[in-house]
Amino acid sequence: MSDTIFLILALLALFGAGTMITVSNTVHSALGFIVTILALSGLYALLSASFLFMVQIIVYAGAVIALLLFVIMFLNIQSSHTPKEPNKYLFMLISAIVMLPIDYLLFRAFYTMTDIENFSITSKDFGTVKMLGLELFRNWLLPFEAISLLLLVSLVGAVVMARKKERS
């Protein structure tokens, strides 16, 4: 059962990513990215990370992509404004050829880890909110606070940069 679900979700993620990098319309590309995000959140649920499943849907599909679509529509980008890309498939082929050895190296590096003992049978509340919160507030408190500071700084920075310049 679970490998059928994995296969469906993996094909959906690949389909969304392929749509995203090939389609020329910007809004269609963003919709393809949403498909990838939702498929990845399903994979998190399969990997028993139930809190990350929710966070992925709420933060990515709910906030980041909604903000992106909002900006695309705010700038009112017509299909005549999108840049002409006559040889994008050639560049894709070149970059795929460049990436192949790196991918092979990564795959071999992870393949050696299969010898390590598998701990995948874990306790029932692995990945739930309670376990994650205990871990976060016991061992990861300082990085958590640093990230809250980073979010504040980026909020102020976004407001300052997108503001119209005052004519003086």
Partner: protein, 105 residues
């Protein structure tokens, strides 16, 4: 039969290289941004997979922090795009050449 964790790793590697392909081959700045996010997501998938494989919670915590940083990055990046669009009236990255030295290339 349970899916081996190598299939998750393989999917994440393929998604990462698709992100690289998008960054290299496209000229639309929104699609380049989405390809960057796709690369961050594939790294998250590797982190969560290894967290399950080793029975350790740290991978999920790091994945959550990556999501938070990606949200912060989204706000700054999109406000930069709005400000660039006001300046250049274009989303083609070939038009963003203010820092280019005149007379070369």
């Amino acid at each position: 039969m349970e899916v081996s964790f190598m299939s998750y790793i393989l999917l994440a590697i393929i998604l990462f290289s698709m992100g690289i392909m998008g960054v290299i081959s496209r000229k639309n700045i929104f699609i380049i941004y989405m390809s960057l996010e796709l690369m961050l997501n594939s790294i998250n998938l590797i982190l969560v997979t290894l967290s399950k494989h080793f029975g350790n919670m740290d991978g999920q915590i790091i994945a959550m922090m990556v999501i938070a940083i990606a949200a912060a990055e989204a706000a700054v990046f999109l406000s930069l795009i709005v400000s660039l669009y006001r300046l250049k009236h274009s989303i083609n990255i070939d038009d963003y050449n203010t820092l280019k030295q005149k007379g070369t290339l």
